[in-house]
């Protein structure tokens, strides 16, 4: 059944084929085609990646060593941008905010997603499972900016629905968006609400892949309730947890929409994040070099955290 066109390599290293199909060796033209055809198919992607991904990365890295305001010609300033960025208290606070945000938001996001996934998978009839899977995933398909604008109205101190509901049970108006603690809480809440659906779906997939026999064996060994989840579900979900946490952390480190629309980083710098500072430096202060320098630092942090996660995963992730 083999034909010249279906021979995988044409190198003659498959003895059976070589023996029975001497003439199936591709011609010179065919060999050239086989060698270059894959590259021809890959070329559009490679060119696209080069122009739209690699080039901006390299340009951004180079820009970090220049002072440039879009309008005037760029001036080489060496490491000045990095020095200024490191000394800028707003940048330092924004990175600290981002780290705190990542810790709290990712913990809540993964905890909520895992808890709900276990509940939906185990306790609910199949038709309700479909409903909740869609319901929990739904916020993710909404625009973060639109959601945040809507939430601004909900959390308005004077006229918001949240405070109105609280007033029904005698709770005085909470200044959600105008105090540092309140605004940070709302930003985290809105972010987690909108993003936990993705982790939830990953966990649902992970739970479905755990063999029923494992639980049966655990039950025979006397494991019930929490112990079953602690000794069976969590270890067997660890590969899923690794993927979910890596993605959640990378996304959270780049949070922008929710704090920008809800609070514009305030009050003070209480909800200002690293990406917000990049945006403000570049597009509001026209300091593109500084913005690139902050971007480079943030990229290095993301890479370091992700590398650490994969290194640590060797200890905590169990594969069946």
């Amino acid at each position: 059944m083999s034909t010249a066109t279906s021979t995988p390599t044409g190198t003659g290293k498959q003895p059976g084929r070589q023996a029975t199909h001497k003439h199936s060796q591709p011609s010179k033209r065919g060999r050239v085609q086989q060698r270059w055809l894959p590259w021809a198919f890959l070329a559009p992607t490679i060119v696209g990646m080069g122009i739209f991904t690699l080039l901006p990365i390299v340009a951004s890295l180079a820009l970090a060593f220049f002072r440039w305001d879009i309008i005037s010609a760029p001036t080489f300033v060496g490491f000045d941008n990095f020095a200024e960025v490191v000394q800028d208290p707003t940048v330092r606070v924004s990175f600290l905010n981002t780290i705190v945000f990542v810790i709290v938001a990712v913990a809540l996001q993964l905890g909520l997603a895992l808890g709900l996934a276990i509940m939906v998978q185990e306790k609910l009839p199949s038709w309700l499972r479909v409903f909740f899977r869609s319901a929990f995933f739904f916020p993710l398909i909404l625009s973060a900016a639109s959601v945040s604008i809507f939430m601004r109205y909900l959390f308005n101190e004077q006229f918001g629905v949240v405070n109105w509901l609280l007033s029904l049970v005698g709770v005085p108006a909470v200044p959600w968006l105008t105090t540092p603690g309140g605004s940070a809480a709302v930003v985290i809440l809105v972010y987690v609400w909108q993003n936990f659906g993705f982790s939830f779906l990953l966990f649902i997939g992970g739970l479905a892949s755990i063999p029923v026999e494992t639980y049966e064996a655990a039950s025979i060994d006397g494991a019930t309730g929490w112990r079953k989840h602690f000794y069976v579900t969590l270890p067997l979900l660890s590969p899923t947890t690794l993927v979910a946490s890596v993605m959640a952390i990378i996304n959270a480190l780049q949070v922008f929409d929710q704090p920008y629309v809800l609070t514009r980083g305030g009050p003070g710098d209480s909800t200002r994040t690293a990406v917000m500072v990049i945006f403000e430096s570049a597009f509001q202060r026209l300091e593109f070099g500084q913005a690139s320098a902050i971007g480079v630092i943030l990229t290095l942090i993301i890479m370091a955290i992700t590398a650490a996660q994969f290194r640590l995963s060797k200890r905590f992730v169990f594969y069946q």
Partner: protein, 472 residues
């Protein structure tokens, strides 16, 4: 018949791939104008490209002006690009992006917030054109208050002609005022009178009601209070020059001696004791439940709340009138008064007009557009309703406010006449950084105790120093 099948399969695959390839080539060719951006209005032809902040509907609304312009200048083709933006800062960012992309518009509608940024880096001065067409422009300047014009002076040159403007006056809800047993406030009411008014309103209507609502922004936020207290968060100075304009067009104006080559904001001033005093006053309003902690954003959302009598007073300009009318308020339901007096009754205002870009393909044509847009004919087409205050005094009349109110619409233009030192939004070329530095500290300054206020102002001073560290 494997051979036949194989050949057929091969033929079919090839045909499919060929068709796919042809399809891709065809689609690419068809969308080439989009891919290369040549379908962007004004690009690739000689038409004058005008950028305004707004939606496609706003651009369509300008068509009548374009038609009127075409009658006068059939040789100049005009295209309006409406650029959607959250605020002016956002709009300027988008214009700068167009500049960086090599596709700048020829003319841009710029508000006070960006006037000095454009004057410093992007705009072409109008001086020569004004000197050349002085006879024609005399009528315009006679109808426009010099305070508005001075806001567009930069280092002795004029960069824009004011088309519309708004001062931060004080709107009040007449029903709430009556309920508190109060009459219309006096023209020279003070900041303490204002406080008493708020207290009376709150006492009369304690539930679900906010006596003073204000937003955290550069216009109508804390700045009017600073101006009324004869200070600002930036040190205000004026540059020399500009005599050619003032002597040429405003020689007999009673405020001629006040005019300059333009405003300058070179140093921070957040450590001024009067700045502390003004913030402390607002802090006391918040503390006593007379005013809200200011949130960020525009005032648009407030219209519904104000119209439903849930807000007693708020600072805003003439742009609010049409919105309140559309929200169902009649001319008896709301009114406007001057901003309360403190050490002075100097107001804050913002204005806007067209700037010709340095990169404009045909500056003479651009000037003709700017000149035409400042004519009464064009302004009457653009401002059929009171959704802003026209820069021409003669247009701020009974007819414009008939059926909408407010009864005391004269307050709008009299703000300039009665208080000729009334000043523009403090907006140096580094306006975006300055605005961020102000706004990020306002909420903290007015929300806590005195210690927190001091810390917020120290932080503001430091942020402003950073924002202004590189002078052009």
């Amino acid at each position: 018949m494997p051979g036949t099948n194989g050949a057929l399969r091969q033929f079919t695959r090839r045909t499919a791939l060929t068709a796919l390839g042809a399809g891709i080539v065809g689609a690419t060719a068809a969308s080439w104008p989009r891919l290369t951006g040549t379908d962007i209005p004004g690009r690739g032809d000689n038409s004058l490209s005008i950028a305004i902040m707004g939606t496609a509907a706003d651009a369509a609304a300008r068509q009548k002006v374009i038609d009127a312009f075409a009658k006068v200048h059939p040789e100049i083709k005009v295209k309006v690009q409406a650029i959607q933006a959250v605020d002016w800062k956002d709009f300027f960012t988008k214009i700068l992006t167009m500049v960086a992309a090599g596709t700048p518009p020829d003319v841009v509608y710029v508000a006070t917030e960006g006037a000095q940024l454009f004057a410093e880096k992007l705009a072409h001065p109008l001086d020569e054109y004004l000197r050349r067409d002085a006879d024609h422009m005399k009528e315009y300047f006679e109808d426009v208050h010099p305070s508005l014009v001075e806001a567009f002076m930069y280092k002795g040159s004029l960069f824009q002609l004011p088309i519309d403007w708004n001062a931060a006056n004080m709107y009040y809800n007449t029903a709430s005022l009556r309920q508190a047993g109060l009459e219309r406030p006096a023209d020279d009411w003070t900041h303490m009178d204002f406080r008493s008014t708020l207290a009376a309103m709150k006492k009369a209507k304690p539930q679900d009601f906010t006596p003073y609502y204000w937003t955290n922004r550069l216009f109508g936020g804390v700045v009017p209070w600073l101006y009324a207290n004869e200070t600002s968060f930036l040190k205000e100075t004026k540059s020399t020059g500009g005599e050619w304009l003032w002597d040429g067009f405003y020689a007999n104006d009673p405020s001629r001696s006040l005019r300059s080559g333009g405003y300058q904001w070179l140093e921070p001033n957040a450590d001024d004791p009067r700045v502390f005093e003004s913030f402390d006053y607002l802090r006391s309003l918040v503390k006593d439940g007379l005013g809200v902690r200011p949130e960020e954003g525009g005032g648009g959302a407030l219209i519904g709340l104000f119209a439903s009598n849930r807000i007693g007073t708020t600072p805003a300009g003439g742009y609010w009138v049409q919105g309140l009318h559309e929200a169902g308020m009649t001319e008896n339901d709301f009114d406007v008064q001057f901003f309360p007096k403190w050490r002075t009754q100097r107001h804050q205002f913002g204005t806007a007009g067209y700037a010709i870009m340095k990169t404009a393909k045909d500056k003479d044509a651009a000037w003709e557009w700017v000149k035409f847009s400042s004519s009464k004919e064009a302004m009457q087409i653009v401002f059929p309703t009171p959704n802003t205050t026209p820069a021409r005094r003669s247009m701020v009349n009974e007819k414009l406010y008939a059926g909408t109110g407010p009864r005391n619409w004269k307050v709008f233009y009299e703000t300039l006449d009665k208080f000729p030192t009334t000043g523009p939004i403090p907006a140096p070329p580094q306006q975006a950084a300055v605005e961020t530095a102000l706004m990020k500290n306002v909420s903290l300054a007015v929300s806590g105790d005195e210690r927190q206020l001091k810390q917020a102002l120290e932080s503001m001073q430091r942020d402003l120093e950073l924002a202004l560290r590189r002078q052009p």
